[in-house]
């Protein structure tokens, strides 16, 4: 089947660079889009064509679906890759792409919709036979919320049905606290996601965050590419990820992968996606949410599986069947990803925009750096704080960590503060290196 010959990359930063590279490697042209602030950016230079789509605030450029579609039309692109964030999990945008006669390098709009609402996603996972954390139906008022919490037992989490990326979640340990938190949680959900619907979930003690990478094609092919442990988080934002997840029993590993594939098949999923789970101390796992897009941490799966996930996304979007089956996939070694953000860990992770005056990247065997930045670029206050992702592979965890330590010695960024000093401390941490840790471990360390 003939695939797209020109792909519009509806994103910025490192993921835009990553997608343009995959397009070029596949013999496909790439069109970049950019806002005022990103005029001289690296992905604009790498692309075959570039279109200015608006002012610097994301709401006036990268989130402007009409401007993105017009950029695709004017450059005769036949497909759109949305990356992560921005329009990537917007089912209306996905439909508009199809209505414009273009191919979305992503899942069917119906799957985005189904998984985009957390309460519906939960019910869908349950229907697919995937374990979920005991939780409630949507709660609309305090009385129904308190009744639900009594039944679940405190502590509980109040969650926004439309939430994602760890946003819109509040822990609550008593009925009084619930009365306090619910109105604010609903208001916050309304303001952040345009939908105030909340529901409750039992809070697990010291869980790990383990997620499974999926690929599914149009021909009934669906595989998992093993799991990643993303438990090292601060305020539910991931800072360090590993693949495979350390200390997972072989049987758990198999069952969690199978559960993710079961869910993908149940919802008629296509393209790349990730199913996120919480895993408790007894290795019971529970569905958390599904991300219907490529994720920030996809490279660690690439290096242990040998599969180029973005290239596979392009092939799937072209209607090509997966060229491998589950049995063909064998993980090799261990990989770790460190998110280098323009934040000062010693000043409460204060954001640090500004000009990057020095930018020396590390190298060597097993070391990969994904970035959208070059020396002299300005890190803009308009977008998120990611500078680069450092991905280190080793034949085993010890080698991956040792290479990460060396790479961090070489990595030099000046002009802005970064999370490199924190990562230097983390990769030398005995508890982390002997692994696994739980999702609040880092916050406890930082206190």
């Amino acid at each position: 089947m003939t695939g797209p010959s020109r792909v519009l990359v509806a994103n910025r930063g490192e993921i835009a660079v990553r997608i343009i590279r995959a397009c070029h490697a596949a013999g496909v042209e790439a069109v970049a889009v950019y806002s005022d602030a990103d005029k001289n950016s690296r992905w604009v230079q790498l692309a075959d064509h570039a279109v200015h789509i608006g002012a610097s605030p994301a709401s006036k450029s990268y989130l402007n679906a009409a401007a993105v579609l017009e950029a695709a039309r004017s450059t005769h692109a036949d497909a759109i890759h949305p990356g992560y964030g921005f329009l990537s999990e917007n089912s209306r945008f996905a439909r508009a792409v199809q209505d414009a006669g273009l191919v979305l390098v992503g899942p069917p709009p119906s799957a985005i919709e189904l998984m985009g609402d957390k309460a519906t996603a939960r019910a869908t996972a349950q229907a697919a036979g995937v374990p979920v954390i005991p939780g409630s139906a949507p709660v609309t008022d305090l009385a129904s919320a308190q009744a639900a919490a009594d039944q679940l037992g405190y502590p509980v989490l109040v969650k926004a049905a439309a939430g994602g990326g760890g946003r819109g979640i509040r822990p609550v340990s008593s009925a009084a606290e619930l009365a306090d938190v619910l109105p604010a949680a609903q208001a916050e959900a309304r303001s952040a996601f345009g939908d105030g619907t909340s529901y409750l979930e039992r809070a697990l003690a010291r869980p790990r965050h383990v997620e499974v990478q999926l690929l599914a094609d149009d021909h009934g092919g669906a595989v998992h590419l093993f799991e990643r442990d993303c438990s090292v988080q601060r305020r539910r934002q991931k800072l360090l990820e590993e693949a495979p997840a350390p200390g997972l029993h072989e049987e758990t590993r198999q069952r969690i992968g199978e559960a993710a594939v079961r869910l993908a098949r149940h919802v008629g999923y296509r393209n790349a996606g990730t199913v996120e789970f919480l895993v408790d101390e007894d290795q019971h796992f529970y569905f958390m949410e599904m991300n219907t897009r490529i994720q920030v941490e996809h490279p660690i799966t690439e290096v242990i599986s040998g599969v180029d996930l973005v290239a596979e996304q392009l092939r799937i979007a072209a209607g090509t069947p997966l060229s491998f089956t589950q049995d063909d996939l064998v993980p090799t070694g261990a990989a770790i990803e460190l998110r280098i953000n323009a934040e000062d860990p010693d000043r409460g992770f204060a954001p640090s925009p500004g000009e990057v005056t020095a930018f020396d990247l590390p190298g060597g065997p097993g070391v990969r750096v994904d970035t959208g930045l070059a020396r002299g670029d300005r890190i803009s206050p308009f977008y998120d704080s990611m500078i680069a992702k450092l991905i280190c592979w080793g034949a085993d965890r010890d080698q991956a960590y040792a290479r990460a330590e060396q790479a961090l010695r070489e990595f030099r960024i000046e002009g802005v503060a970064s999370t490199i000093p924190l990562h230097r401390r983390l990769v030398g941490n005995d508890k982390l290196r002997s692994g696994p840790v739980h999702t609040t471990w880092l916050e406890e360390q930082l206190e």
Partner: protein
């Protein structure tokens, strides 16, 4: 008259959310410590507060403008 300065660089907003009313209108009274605007930097929001009570004379920036640390964002006229 006093100028309220931005404590950090970012993007200037007069409203808590795009679909909501501004924190304060020009000509309105403000109290010391009252939130009059937000600055967003890398998806993190911080509040801009009036340093003294008075009447909000004018804003020196438009909604969505980029602002540098130390730059004036509004003028408050003492009562």
């Amino acid at each position: 008259m006093s100028t309220v300065n931005a404590a950090l660089p970012g993007v200037f907003y007069r409203r808590p959310a795009p679909d909501q009313e501004p924190f304060v209108e020009v000509g309105a009274m403000v109290q010391e410590g009252q939130t009059i605007a937000l600055i967003e930097v890398m998806k993190t929001f911080s509040e801009v507060k009036a340093e003294q009570a008075g009447t909000l004379g004018r804003f020196l920036l438009d909604e969505g403008d980029e602002v540098e640390a130390g730059q004036g964002v509004a003028e408050v006229v003492a009562p």
